[in-house]
């Protein structure tokens, strides 16, 4: 157990070393995107829409979008790093194969990959939360209460990305989960508008997808919108299922 933890730590150390070598690249690719969304939708669309009435609460559209972008950041950062990033490491660079010939095992390599992807998405989403606190849209305490949510949902989408990387035959095939899962979630799971606005069947589909639970919980923690109890089991079930699928599929692909 101690050996396994050491192995995982060592793999995360490799990612951290790459991170510190290309810090500008990471800052741009990790934090610029959510900040652009915040500016564009928060200031642009926000000034047109004004306030929203959601479940008996009145909130500014800017605050509504800011908390939606927390979920969007977790989704994009978690999925992209674990799908395209991991595919390149596994298929082109053969980083996994090289490390798994040392005393570090393939299982530890995969945990290290997931933990790094999760840490990266979590930190990016917390930066969005920090901006919301600075602008006065979120209470300062939200920075703490969001940590477990951001971590669990980052792990969920990292698991989705890594599962996609494990199952894709070529890097082009990663477009399928991106267009069939990630973009629909981005557009239909409450990032930009309350899903109550959707027709009932579409709303039901939105609730099955994991991002709706994330946006719902994020708005509860940041804006005090009503807590939806079913969001927690949905999120945890997806998280466990995707992490298990990712590990299983990746081990099956690499170890013959």
């Amino acid at each position: 157990m101690i050996d396994a933890l050491w192995g995982v730590r060592c793999v995360v150390g490799r990612y951290f070393d790459v991170f510190t070598r290309g810090i500008v690249y990471y800052l741009v690719t990790t934090f610029l995107e959510p900040i652009l969304y915040l500016l564009s939708f928060g200031l642009g669309v926000g000034s047109l829409v004004g306030n929203l009435h959601v479940a008996g609460h009145e909130v500014s559209y800017r605050a509504f979008i800011f908390s939606g972008v927390i979920a969007q950041t977790v989704l994009f950062q978690g999925f992209m790093e674990a799908s395209y990033g991991a595919f390149v490491r596994m298929y082109y660079q053969k980083v996994y194969q090289a490390i798994a010939l040392t005393p570090v095992t393939m299982s530890e390599v995969l945990w290290g990959e997931l933990i790094w992807d999760t840490a990266k998405a979590t930190s990016a989403s917390l930066v969005v939360a920090l901006i919301g606190v600075v602008t006065g849209d979120f209470p300062p305490l939200a920075l703490l209460t969001l940590i477990p949510l951001c971590f669990a949902s980052s792990l969920l989408f990292a698991g989705m990305g890594l599962a996609a990387a494990a199952l894709a035959r070529s890097i082009e095939q990663l477009s399928y989960p991106q267009y069939l899962l990630v973009f629909p979630m981005f557009l239909f799971c409450g990032v930009f508008y309350p899903i109550d606005a959707l027709p009932a069947p579409l709303r039901a589909v939105a609730w099955v997808l994991p991002l709706t639970s994330v946006t719902s919980l994020a708005r509860w923690l940041t804006l005090g919108l009503p807590f939806e109890p079913m969001a927690i089991p949905i999120l945890l079930a997806w998280m466990v299922a995707l992490v298990l699928l990712a590990r299983r599929a990746m081990l099956r692909r690499l170890i013959k």
Partner: protein, 278 residues
């Protein structure tokens, strides 16, 4: 030599791959069938065989990367399936495929790899610098991997397999793509390691390399070991000591002493070149 001196022991190793089945036909491929051999400390053991003979599969099983279907592999007495960490702590591998980490420059590459063997950073740096000097890559220490030529990449990968000062070194086609001068440098480093007691398993296509480096050679064909002996003994046993006459181009016949290549061709019945990988 007593059996206990074996650094690497492969016992009745069989490896079958599952295939993506298309209704009919077998659902698995037996790449290695019941092979046994051992490598002792300070010994260089060669694995010769055409592509698809099972060399790479054998090496993947030795590293514990692929679990054996049956049989066992132990390194320094540690079973690679049951105690992979302890077994691999003793093992350095230079894979056939290029697995250099392109996110790191040349020296950092080695230092980072040493960390996976629990070598402290200062120590890992010292070892990395010594290896770079030994392999003539000093000037490239800070260079990105992409800027290296194919031969330099190969050298760096051999160097990387030595960072942990392994007791058992497994080299899968280590000198492919190296020019003769550099190949000699690699051979020399390997000879030094061997003199220091490192056991070596060498998979190669170069018969000259096998004859020059290996104390014993196994001829692998169709997943089975056809014979194991010192190169000279293999030659005497299978082709005798008669000179071989070979028509190298129309009308030009060379006469030469028999060598390992003759043994290889006789036993496997296939020329080395022009075969596709499985």
């Amino acid at each position: 030599m007593p059996d206990d001196a074996a650094l690497l022991r492969v016992t009745h190793l069989t490896k079958r791959y599952r295939l993506r089945t298309v209704s009919a036909g077998p659902d698995h491929l037996e790449a290695v069938s019941d092979i046994s051999f051992e490598v002792r400390a300070g010994e260089c053991f060669g694995l010769l065989g055409p592509n698809g003979a099972g060399k790479s599969t054998t090496i993947h099983c030795i590293s514990g990367f692929y679990p054996p279907t049956s049989g066992a592999v132990t390194i320094g007495g540690f079973d690679v399936s049951r105690e992979p960490r302890r077994a691999r702590q003793l093992l350095g591998i230079c894979s056939q495929e290029d697995t250099l980490d392109t996110d790191f420059a040349v020296r950092d590459q080695l230092v980072r790899y040493g960390r996976f063997f629990r070598i402290g950073k200062p120590d890992s740096r010292r070892r990395a610098d010594a290896l770079l000097t030994r392999f003539g890559l000093d000037e490239k220490a800070e260079a990105p991997i992409e800027s290296l030529s194919g031969g330099m990449r190969r050298r760096l990968q051999v160097a990387r397999s030595l960072i942990s000062d392994p007791r058992l070194l497994v080299l899968d086609e280590p000198t492919t793509g190296l020019d003769p001068e550099v190949r000699r440098v690699v051979w020399q480093v390997l000879a030094e390691r061997r003199a220091a007691g490192t056991g070596m398993l060498l998979s190669t296509h170069y018969m000259e390399e096998a004859e020059r480096l290996c104390d014993r050679v196994a001829i692998l064909h169709g997943g089975r070991i056809l014979d194991i002996a010192p190169p000279g003994e293999l030659v005497a046993r299978h082709v005798g000591n008669q000179e071989v006459a070979e028509e190298v181009r129309p009308g030009v016949v060379w006469r030469r002493p028999p060598n390992l290549e003759d043994v290889y061709l006789k036993l496997t019945g296939t020329p080395l070149e022009g075969r596709d990988r499985d």
